[in-house]
Subunit: 118 residues, 2 copies
């Protein structure tokens, strides 16, 4: 019987060695190594985080919030390095979500619903 | 290079074959095969779910809510089959959370924080 932790470490290794992860890493480094892209990207992430926090607290977004987010979004769309990074993040996000679904399948089978008892 | 999906299916298999999963499955079936335990357990889960929903919507719990949850909790604590199931669920929950952390490690390394960009 394979130990679950060994199997998880194998999965971790496979993720690190995958083209999708290598691309993500390269695109992340490209953005971080360019001062303008780095600042733009970090500001965009910071705004996203703040707006999410507001929504989770049940606060309404102001017109200024929405305008700021839209302006930052149009700026990052014009930045090739950031656009590539965001696409690679979306792809990696989908893969991780798939992998997580596979991992949760035994519980789903037992409890008859996604996520099982959790 | 191992394919990430193959590695995930191996992990799924290892989970299914683990003693922790087999115990959980056995304890779940024991509860489901006993009418009283089954009803008690399902009521407890239903109450938990309702209270979580309320809290997520920002609603206050009433005294009646709290009393109902406490009474159900004391009933299930006296039920050996359910107690075993809940312990097995807690253990499986910790293992799955560990496995998930291992799987997310490559992203954490890249982004310098748990969960990475997600």
């Amino acid at each position: 019987m394979a130990n679950v932790y060994d199997a998880a470490y194998n999965l971790e290794k496979a993720i690190r060695e995958s083209d999708d992860y290598k691309n993500l890493k390269q695109f992340y480094e490209n953005v971080m190594n360019d001062e303008t892209s780095k600042r733009l990207f970090n500001e965009f992430r910071e705004t996203q985080f703040q707006l999410q926090q507001k929504q989770m607290m049940g606060e309404d977004l102001t017109d200024a919030d929405v305008q700021k987010a839209q302006m930052q979004f149009s700026l990052i769309q014009q930045n090739e390095a950031i656009s590539k990074l965001i696409q690679a993040e979306e792809r990696m996000g989908m893969i991780l979500s798939d992998l997580n679904r596979v991992m949760m399948k035994p519980l789903e089978d037992l409890y008859g619903m996604p996520g099982g008892f959790q």
